[in-house]
Symmetry: C5
Subunit: 356 residues, 5 copies
Amino acid sequence: MKAGPRSYVSDKTGLPPGSLIHVGNVLVDETRISVINYNKDSFLEARIDSIDELEPYCQSDTITWVIVEGLSNVNVVESVGQMFGIHQLVLEDILNTHQRPKFEEYEDYLYIVLKAMVAEEGEFAVSYEQISLLVLEHVVFAFKEKRDKLFEPVVQRIRTSKGRFRSLGADFLAYSILDAIIDQNFVLIDSLDGAITLLEDELLTGDPGKTLLNRIQRLKREIVSVRRYVSPVRELINEMLRSESPLIDEKTHIYLKDVSDHAIRLVESIELHRDVISGLMDIYISTVSNKMNEVMKVLTIFASIFIPMTFLTGIYGMNFEHMPELKLSWTYPALWGVFLAIPAVLLTYFRRKKWL
Amino acid sequence: MKAGPRSYVSDKTGLPPGSLIHVGNVLVDETRISVINYNKDSFLEARIDSIDELEPYCQSDTITWVIVEGLSNVNVVESVGQMFGIHQLVLEDILNTHQRPKFEEYEDYLYIVLKAMVAEEGEFAVSYEQISLLVLEHVVFAFKEKRDKLFEPVVQRIRTSKGRFRSLGADFLAYSILDAIIDQNFVLIDSLDGAITLLEDELLTGDPGKTLLNRIQRLKREIVSVRRYVSPVRELINEMLRSESPLIDEKTHIYLKDVSDHAIRLVESIELHRDVISGLMDIYISTVSNKMNEVMKVLTIFASIFIPMTFLTGIYGMNFEHMPELKLSWTYPALWGVFLAIPAVLLTYFRRKKWL
Amino acid sequence: MKAGPRSYVSDKTGLPPGSLIHVGNVLVDETRISVINYNKDSFLEARIDSIDELEPYCQSDTITWVIVEGLSNVNVVESVGQMFGIHQLVLEDILNTHQRPKFEEYEDYLYIVLKAMVAEEGEFAVSYEQISLLVLEHVVFAFKEKRDKLFEPVVQRIRTSKGRFRSLGADFLAYSILDAIIDQNFVLIDSLDGAITLLEDELLTGDPGKTLLNRIQRLKREIVSVRRYVSPVRELINEMLRSESPLIDEKTHIYLKDVSDHAIRLVESIELHRDVISGLMDIYISTVSNKMNEVMKVLTIFASIFIPMTFLTGIYGMNFEHMPELKLSWTYPALWGVFLAIPAVLLTYFRRKKWL
Amino acid sequence: MKAGPRSYVSDKTGLPPGSLIHVGNVLVDETRISVINYNKDSFLEARIDSIDELEPYCQSDTITWVIVEGLSNVNVVESVGQMFGIHQLVLEDILNTHQRPKFEEYEDYLYIVLKAMVAEEGEFAVSYEQISLLVLEHVVFAFKEKRDKLFEPVVQRIRTSKGRFRSLGADFLAYSILDAIIDQNFVLIDSLDGAITLLEDELLTGDPGKTLLNRIQRLKREIVSVRRYVSPVRELINEMLRSESPLIDEKTHIYLKDVSDHAIRLVESIELHRDVISGLMDIYISTVSNKMNEVMKVLTIFASIFIPMTFLTGIYGMNFEHMPELKLSWTYPALWGVFLAIPAVLLTYFRRKKWL
Amino acid sequence: MKAGPRSYVSDKTGLPPGSLIHVGNVLVDETRISVINYNKDSFLEARIDSIDELEPYCQSDTITWVIVEGLSNVNVVESVGQMFGIHQLVLEDILNTHQRPKFEEYEDYLYIVLKAMVAEEGEFAVSYEQISLLVLEHVVFAFKEKRDKLFEPVVQRIRTSKGRFRSLGADFLAYSILDAIIDQNFVLIDSLDGAITLLEDELLTGDPGKTLLNRIQRLKREIVSVRRYVSPVRELINEMLRSESPLIDEKTHIYLKDVSDHAIRLVESIELHRDVISGLMDIYISTVSNKMNEVMKVLTIFASIFIPMTFLTGIYGMNFEHMPELKLSWTYPALWGVFLAIPAVLLTYFRRKKWL
């Protein structure tokens, strides 16, 4: 997972800017292209093999949503670029999966890129998927790295919508996709919450070992990394709101504001979790310190009780000729009395000091 | 309580945006609708069963305040939406109790949402209640999650006001509600203060255990969480002040500024308490360290006194044939002299080092 | 003192906004009203019993300065409000002694509120006094909580000024009062400096106990609290400078800028002291750590020297029949040689390790 | 390396501003001047000895790129200044290798200065090279401190470009150079990542010594220093975008934005690494603490087991005449039973406390 | 030195604003006034006794630079105020040596105040000198607290300048003075660097005592204090650049920008050093911790080796009658074998744990 958040990739260093190659890990081998074409009255789903087959769908009285899953096939992106006149740098950004979330406005289209994040099974770890959206007047392209069910709710909604959704434009489709991605993040936050609660419980009940510290640190890093991809989303949507592009209808603004609110809540929630994690670190360090204290106490109790008594046995183990006590018959039992009294006194003292 | 501040709820994930369901914990089962209708000359309190019964109250020469307690009955919110033309997203926000405090301005109405916070009995813990206000020209809706006495002072003030309050508009009513909610928070801060003082006293007198650390951490989290809901209130009110909506009278501005001042003082007070808590953490850690020091000192004092003396007894416990000291009658008492001198010397030394 | 910085008072919760009651601790029982009336040619000091007696002084060719000491008598504030048309909320703010420093501009008057701070005797502790100024065209009201000599230098200056001061307007009087309050704070900073130096010396010479830590923390809190009341003063004065009220003459601006400079210097100085205090905390913690080190060294030195030697005595205290060494006459003295050599060797070793 | 990030050079103190001398370490002795001259149809590479030889290349229908490697020869910079009318202060800045990245706009030319950073072999350490660009209408000067392959990709691209690159202006050349420098930094980040991973592994497997701490600190400093040179680059490019100089074509803006995105990603990545390093510090400190814990446990286990048993042997080593146990034949073996039982009991206890 | 950064002086408290007295330490007893008068063709240096003698020099075709060294003679400042119409508050600021760096623009003159800083011999400590500049159309006053060679380079440059410098106005002279002061600070930074390197070396080689901690703290404070006087300089120059006063020629702007760049570099360098110092603190604390670890290890090794062996000797020192081992002749040598084996085994174990 380390590679996810940290390496920013120098794979392309040395290449002239403007050359189209896929930068990042290949997450699916084959590229799959799905087409969803709808308007108020019709709805149509299809799978095509190359971008050339798109043409019949792209008409001005329907909205066409093209989902490209898998980026290893550079030709697909190249064809989209040629057919719809997309700038070379945008195509590069689609293929380079190390983008920050951002919004760019061009004359004929909008470019939105952000990350979908999914919590992986087992230990808390996040897998990132870069989603690029190209929003044209009647066509929306969505480029994904993986095949998953991320867009399923949106597709389902178009499928079942009688009129409202299907009568709205490409910008509303784009909003619905953004909303689905952001909502997915709330699931992530919940699973993050679960991971933290797990750590907390372990910290309080069990004995925290070195692994725990590493897990806290790893969790902290995942949070930092998630935050890095979530916090620019707010700015992204604000830029969409400020944009004067005719591609974004005034009526869509209120929906975008709603997404923006969700993004703010996400960031706040992440900040909160980061604070909680810092608190865990404090508890961990304090726990280690407390354990040392306990070890010291055991040592001190043993040593303080037995060292003086051993000294006493030492005295009467000496070989002086003139030690009258040794000859008396009551001294040995009396010494046993002392041997019982010393621990009793010291244990009482330690109990008062709350060491026991 | 953990659920309060942290979980941001993914309950709705997968649902299309725009569907009305209650998101959050159900705090009261039944929804209760109270109506207060007043103008300069009349005052009327009633309880109604459905929003349909509202119609006779809504007239342009009176102010009508509708208090909806309990959000589990989605129909109520839906009816309000239909009867008064409220946007679908606003209705959703009213029902989703994970909102950040915010102010939204629409053509015919204003939407304000914020949190009322009450300190729970016993250990310091906060229970949150989301309050949504819809401010129309002659009607104010207040949606609450719980049935409590939060609005009692405002109702009382309308009831007893002879002229001034009742002759002012819906915006002044909204201000009075905001003021009541913010003032409630000062009570919270006082109870927070009490909780901190309690911790402080325990830290200084008793012996701080692991529980104390956890309680400090929990208190810290509560503060962070309270701050999250208080600090946007200032911005909320500033937006109301900047708003050019005809629904907010110029004369109400000075009152809103007053509320804004209170919100700033609240935030500052919370910051201050956060600093105090951090200081408590420092004292806690230092106390643990001091206790370890004390344990070490006891060990060192015992060991340094008895180990050398035990060595001496060891010497005269040896079985060498040629140990002339053993035969002399004054050596054993002399050694006792040494046994008294060693502790005396060392204890003096330790006292000088201020270990005792 | 805790009450000073922390409690933000919920005394008024439940009361309708707009009711006049004194909120805060009563610092003097009786309210005293002094009047100073001057212009270029005349100077007059008087004491009056009620605001009604003010009328003869308020003329357009003189400046009248009314000093109200003690806020428990609500009637005085109420009368001022009625006679000079002061807004209800301003009157409330005057009586509520938990205000942040702020400047408010009204049509006929300006309202300024800030804190005068005095270092108390003995341990460093600050007592706060809220000063409210109402600046009208020819009258300045100054409301204070206590009777003290805070305004003495200003009064003295008016008394002795031949022409310059007395020929300037109410705004210059207001500036002079602000200047006196801010200058007072420099005295506070000096006494803060003294308190820190005291702590520093104790930390370096004596042995820091738990009390010291508490005193450092208390000092830190006082600083945070002082900063809270000083840092908004700059903004207050900037707002006065930005204000376009005819009550503030252009010529007074340069004087206000000077006060603003002083306020900045105060804040910077407080920040600096906060850093120094944090440094003290670091030194304290490090000192505790060093002391533990020292304790451990003493223990280790004693134990490492005597434990091996005690082992040796143990050997020759065994009762084996075949221990030829025991019979030789030189072995016992030789062992004494070893008993002298072992400490010599180990002490040299420890000295090289710089433990001694 | 210390010199790199820290010393800001007071070499010139005392000299009047405006005198041309080289400030910084001399990285190459000899200054080498390369010229690349191209337009759509032609491409030409040459090496010249002095700036005077430049004249034939500088024509308005070609772009001329002059690369000056090595700054010790002040005459070269002086000649450029005279021939192209460059301001004295710009010439000084070119020669003083302690510049912050910045962009300055003059009437006839643009001045850009930034740092190229290369990770050195072995331990992570960065070597800095200052690059100054002078962008005139048809000529671009690039001043470098060293001879390296930094510009190779750009030269290669011009060489092989059939039409597109070569038909664009001097601003596109400047962009390509900036892009090459920024891309180089990604390599640096990757090697930084490697260095951190190495430290991490050592921290987790081996035993961290004092060297490790020093290496962590050194790495942290390198990161701070790298950040100092990377973070102003974003501002630099924003200023280029805001500039209204006719020397920057509108069409180049989109490319500059791309470089700006890269710079942001770089800074974010550096921040992330800084966080990781802080986490390493925490792990290191915690590891030291854990090791101390372990040492204490060993001591405590040994002492708690053997000290009580030694006490028992002491008892039966005493020389009292009336010790009946000593005469019984089963007592000695029974005592051995005790000697086996004590460790068994204590070890079980310690195992339960998870000390073993 | 403490007095330098911390005490902000309440010396003037109680005095009416506007009274001229010298506030600060008197650094030279006698005030010395030097005059430098120049234009393109002439150059003249003189020393005068009172400001009255200035008149012949102040002509509109020459630039006159008046250097006042020593502020204890208040009359000089007063005379300047009267002769050139300087505002009373400016005169006060010149005499009060606790000013923050600032720029003030008046109708006929500019007022600039900042600090020159010099590293003192021996331990790193900074001595501050306040420099006030009054820039009039043809006259520049420079008020200094001390007599030193700070302005020597500027004077030298005027003396030797053939035409360029001398033909420029008073604003260029002011710039040159600022430049000289800022450049002086780079020397300070270098000596700061030296002090840090010294501390670093001591920390790594020797054994850090309590003094070291104090020295680190003192260095940190000096840095904070230096930063306080350097960081406003940038703003000061930006205000000069924004100023529309005819006293600052457009052509001087580029020079001021250069000074501004230097100031930014200074601040960045100081920030960097502060980070380094914080790192030193971390290393110090970690070193103390490591030393404690080492002490504990020595104790543990000694105790774990000898305590079990002493127990063995204890066994055979017991006086049981039935101890058959004691009678066998090989048991004693065999025990010696055990006594050699135990340390061997334990030392191997400790070596494996890397304690040795």
